[in-house]
């Protein structure tokens, strides 16, 4: 496993239950306070999300279709969510006082900071992969996964920013799921717990919907890559 060295929590939680309430009042003065508290929350709730992430990875190993929960799995996930939401109460009170516009801005900032964190760590991650001898299959695919995750989160953040409230709320729910489910895969890799099948399934999903951003690649390597586009042609002959 190559090192990711996350200094910050890459998850961007979204308090689904609390934010489903109507948020009508406008108190712009709360914005910076809430932002600061959410930052603090994200930093300190790492343990809770770590448990949640372990649970998600376990579910993914049992059934690659992550959305095919049993009642038992669902109850366990709910319990974890409620535990996490409990420590969110004090923030939710302040969020209630904000306008929808202010809330959206707040979450866009948060998602944007997740994207920037991943972006910033990419070159160090690449170096670590290049210096590693003897890869597992997860090593050879993880950089592509990483790039697709950055691209998906970045795309969602831009769309949320450009959307009106109702659409933005739906997109924020999607962004929180992407952040949790697909971010968990990176954490599992970082802890050397990621199975190839899980990575392949989640990577296939991400790549079906988004394109990776253009990262700088050595010129000779880039030219070799451009000549490789037809490689999959011999697959799946039936």
């Amino acid at each position: 496993m190559a090192e990711l060295n996350f200094q910050e929590n890459i998850f961007t939680p979204y308090p689904l239950k609390e934010l489903s309430k109507d948020l009508k009042k406008k108190h712009s003065k709360w914005s910076p306070v809430v932002r600061k508290m959410i930052n603090e929350y994200v930093k300190t709730s790492g343990e809770g999300f770590s448990r949640f992430s372990d649970l998600l990875i376990k579910l993914m190993e049992d059934d690659l279709d992550i959305y095919n929960f049993t009642k038992e799995d669902e109850d366990e996930l709910k319990r974890e969510f409620e535990n996490i939401d409990k420590s969110f109460k004090h923030i939710s009170v302040l969020l209630d006082e904000m306008s929808e516009h202010e809330q959206k801005k707040l979450w866009v900032d948060k998602y944007d900071s997740t994207v920037k964190t991943l972006y910033k760590l990419r070159s160090q991650f690449l170096k670590s992969l290049l210096s590693k001898e003897l890869w597992k299959e997860t090593d050879s695919l993880i950089l592509t996964y990483y790039d697709y995750l950055i691209s998906t989160m970045s795309d969602l953040t831009r769309k949320i920013d450009e959307s009106h409230t109702e659409d933005a709320n739906k997109l924020m729910t999607i962004a929180s799921v992407v952040s949790l489910v697909y971010g968990s895969v990176l954490l599992a890799y970082d802890r050397d717990k990621l199975k190839t099948e899980v990575l392949v399934e989640r990577l296939s999903e991400l790549s079906a919907y988004s394109e990776p951003l253009n990262f700088k690649v050595n010129k000779k390597v880039k030219s070799a890559l451009e000549n490789s586009k037809n490689i999959p042609s011999c697959l799946l002959r039936n």
Binding site: S140, A208, A224, I231, C234, N238
Partner: protein, 261 residues
């Protein structure tokens, strides 16, 4: 109401890659349709990506490990001239040629073809550049595949609202009902089963753009899929979950499967 022509993974691959043996036939078939008249749904799109990722992940890992071991045992890759590097790549293929099981044969055929495509580039890259190439290869292939798919086919996403419990219940009971009728879908053909569920969803609830369809035609070259679908169609779904309210039976009546060429 409209009708839709949807494609299976094998037909999508036939149409995108000119080196495939059925490419010419696929192209003739494609010409019978106007631009974007052929569609794919998300499960097929994901399967196309998955097949590519699975094979390329194995290839990149095996090649890196071969070169890494080789560097430890004999002359390092960076000290070899292009001819010697090409010989080393032949050695790599030879290490995979002794296994006779069918999956290993598929892998060897993929590795051989891949090597034919990339050898002339690979021999001019140093060891670190080869590793960078292998790390970026899946990204390049997936990006190209995705682009080809969206240029050639329209995309039909089943209607699915996060807060519509009715739809979620329907899909859950649909899964149980289909699995009750044909166990083979649960073991050997999980992907086919997911595609079928997606098609029934599109027929029953329409797509994400709120379009409804009065019939769906799914083109596939997969004999097993055709066999299982016909078996399912001839079963009696009304014996199962009441919740389905005849939706499944009706959907199966208006969804058909055909070999395209």
């Amino acid at each position: 109401m409209a009708s839709a022509n949807l494609l299976d993974t094998n037909v999508v691959f036939d149409l995108i890659y000119p080196d495939r043996p059925r490419y010419k036939k696929a192209l003739e078939f494609y010409k019978n349709f106007k631009n974007l008249e052929l569609s794919i749904e998300p499960k097929v799109n994901i399967e196309c990506q998955r097949v590519t990722v699975e094979f390329i992940g194995k290839f990149s890992t095996d090649l890196e490990n071969f070169l890494s071991h080789r560097n430890q045992r004999s002359k390092r890759w960076d000290q070899l001239n292009p001819k010697q590097r090409s010989d080393a790549l032949n050695d790599f293929l030879n290490t995979h040629s002794n296994n006779n099981n069918s999956h290993a044969k598929d892998i060897l055929s993929f590795y051989t073809y891949t090597m034919k495509t990339i050898r002339s580039n690979l021999v001019h890259l140093n060891y670190i550049e080869v590793k960078e190439y292998l790390l970026n290869l899946s990204s390049e292939l997936l990006g190209n595949l995705r682009q080809q798919i969206f240029v050639r086919f329209s995309y039909i996403i089943p209607y699915y609202a996060i807060d519509k419990e009715e739809i979620i219940r329907f899909i859950d009971s649909l899964r149980e009902s289909i699995l009750g009728l044909d166990k083979s879908f649960s073991s050997s053909q999980k992907e086919d089963f997911n595609i079928l569920v997606s098609l029934i969803q599109i027929y029953t609830f329409g797509d994400s753009e709120s379009r409804r369809y009065d019939s769906l035609l799914f083109y596939t070259n997969d004999e097993n899929f055709l066999k299982s679908f016909n078996k399912l169609k001839n079963s009696d779904p009304s014996l199962n979950e009441k919740l389905l309210d005849g939706y499944l039976k009706k959907a199966l009546e208006f969804i058909s499967f055909e070999k395209p060429y």
